[in-house]
């Protein structure tokens, strides 16, 4: 049975789209047929980060309005044959999404895919609600700062009350905490919230920590998700997250300050 995973946060700019791209790519690299959907209608970004913006002909809203078939709109990823992107529309607003339309698209995708990753827009308005409504699991992307944690808390509350699973009264959406842009050094000095602070407040299981890294920016700009550059710490962090999601036990990395020797500091790890 196909699983629907929403990547959400409440707050903007914390790394939802980056996480969606890397997580979906990671699932595909592990051999699962994966579709990643951009719910940020009007401000689409996922296609840029996935490097397929030039190939966008039809989009999510076209499919919802029966102007195109799902097959026409899905864009096959260049790197992974198992990965498909359903881009958002740039010319519509978020009201173009509605429950019946989104449900039809997701049900159709479920027949053909193992995992459907929904990239939520920021905020708690319609686009975000639609992205989370059909979710079976949720990745809550959080930065180590108080406003992001607060917004994640809010989103968790909404997820527990307003998702389809909540409305039907069946098993709740499985929640995973994913901390991005983490700097162990700054957490140590108290500039940032630490992993344990965030876990204590949000009170949901941690699936992984992605360190703050320049590799992300480079990857975004080149349109190739960072997870493809396996020598970078970000790629390793996302690979670990995908493995944990798939049930493998992987020790937590990138949460403690690297204290490597002089040579390592001189030549650097990654």
């Amino acid at each position: 049975m196909a699983k629907v995973i929403v990547v959400t946060s409440g707050k903007g700019g914390v790394g939802k789209t980056t996480t969606s791209a890397n997580f979906a790519t990671g699932l595909a690299l592990n051999g699962h047929r994966t579709a990643v959907l951009d719910f940020d209608v009007g401000l689409r970004n996922l296609d840029l980060i996935m490097g397929c913006e030039r190939r966008v002909v039809y989009d999510f809203v076209n499919v919802i309005n029966h102007e195109a078939t799902l097959k026409q709109a899905l864009i096959k990823d260049k790197q992974c044959p198992n990965l498909f992107v359903l881009p958002a529309s740039q010319t519509r607003d978020k009201d173009a999404l509605h429950v019946e339309g989104v449900e039809r698209v997701i049900e159709e995708l479920k027949k053909d895919f193992d995992y459907i990753v929904c990239d939520s827009p920021a905020g708690i308005e319609k686009g975000a609600m639609m992205a989370m409504y059909f979710a079976d699991e949720a990745l809550i992307v959080t930065n180590p700062e108080i406003s992001s944690v607060r917004d994640s808390d809010r989103i968790l509350g909404i997820l527990a009350a307003k998702s389809k699973r909540a409305e039907m009264g069946i098993e709740p959406v499985k929640e995973h905490l994913l901390i991005t842009r983490y700097s162990p050094k700054r957490a140590e000095t108290g500039e940032m919230l630490s992993v344990s602070d965030i876990r204590e407040i949000l009170n949901i299981p941690l699936i992984g920590v992605v360190p703050e890294s320049e590799a992300i920016l480079q990857a975004s700009n080149s349109g190739i998700p960072a997870i493809h550059h396996q020598d970078s710490d970000v790629a390793q962090a996302y690979s670990d997250i995908v493995k944990r999601f798939l049930g493998e036990e992987v020790p937590l990395r990138f949460v403690n300050r690297q204290k490597g020797g002089f040579l390592k500091r001189l030549f650097g790890g990654a």
Binding site: R150, D153, G157, I201, N203
Partner: protein, 273 residues
């Protein structure tokens, strides 16, 4: 210029504040006032002082069809005769709203199904003070005691930013964290067997003996029977982040460690206005 000066010099003559009250609701099932009068009289015959000019809201949800005529003047007089002070209506139709306003009644926001009666109860009154008087005198209506059966609301999931939980007419027990920005409200006591980081309001209908208990005190605001304290700065060491119980002593909120063995150990934080 001189006007502003005088107003600045003289003390403010008034202040407008927001507040919340518990009100009785009279749910009318018929617009036939003589019949209402008959039943009210029969009902209150044994306890003529049952009401003491209690403010009451008239719920028109059962009689807000367009063709129903209601004489507000008569209705208001009738209620006043029975020591009730009608202050407003809810769930009325457009004409009823206009008529009520003309007779000096306020219009409350329509509340769906608040007093949709299931039983044959004439009155839908949920008020702790009335409950006590009912226990001592004769029960007003058979079966009405059912409505007051004390229950405890138990919450096992974290209460998160933006969420609000209200335990009406009962205690509230929370077994998961109450996060900053969340609000828990109870007519009775509040127990939080986890960190309390949000707002906790106990005894909101005026129960001054209500208490708040929590295992880790990090609340933003606590209130008992309307007496509240905003906690902006850290509380004393033995209170902040510790197991604490909060009670009301007169107009003071008293914070005590839960695990204090002796009274010497009992250092309290007083609430100052």
């Amino acid at each position: 210029m001189s006007i502003t000066k005088t107003t600045a010099a003289s003390p403010a003559a008034f202040e407008i504040k927001g507040s919340s009250f518990t009100l009785l609701v009279l749910c009318l099932k018929s617009s036939q006032l003589p019949e209402l009068e008959k039943q009210l009289q029969a009902h209150l015959a044994k306890t003529p002082d049952y009401f003491n000019f209690d403010p009451i809201v008239i719920d028109l949800c059962n009689i807000n069809q367009n063709d129903v005529k209601l004489d507000f003047k008569l209705l208001i007089n009738l209620l006043k005769q029975h020591k009730l002070a009608p202050i407003g209506i809810c769930n009325g139709n457009q004409n009823q709203v206009l008529a009520a306003q003309q007779h000096g009644l306020g219009i409350f926001a329509d509340i769906a199904g608040l007093t949709k009666p299931k039983e044959q109860n004439k009155r839908s009154i949920h008020s702790p003070s009335k409950k006590e008087s009912q226990d001592t005198s004769e029960p007003a209506t058979p079966g009405s005691k059912e409505n007051f059966r004390p229950q405890t609301k138990v919450i096992t999931q974290p209460i998160r930013t933006g969420q609000q939980i209200y335990a009406q007419d009962c205690d509230l027990i929370v077994l998961a964290p109450v996060n900053a920005g969340a609000e828990i409200i109870s007519d009775g006591n509040i127990h939080v067997y986890a960190p309390l980081r949000g707002r906790a309001l106990a005894g909101v209908k005026g129960n001054t003996s209500a208490r708040i208990f929590c295992l880790k005190m990090e609340a933003e605001l606590v209130s008992i029977a309307g007496c509240y304290r905003v906690i902006e700065e850290k509380l004393p060491e033995n209170i902040q982040g510790e197991g604490v119980q909060i009670s009301l002593d007169g107009e003071r909120l008293v914070f005590e460690p839960l695990l204090s063995n002796s009274t010497d150990n009992k250092r309290t934080v007083n609430w100052q206005k």
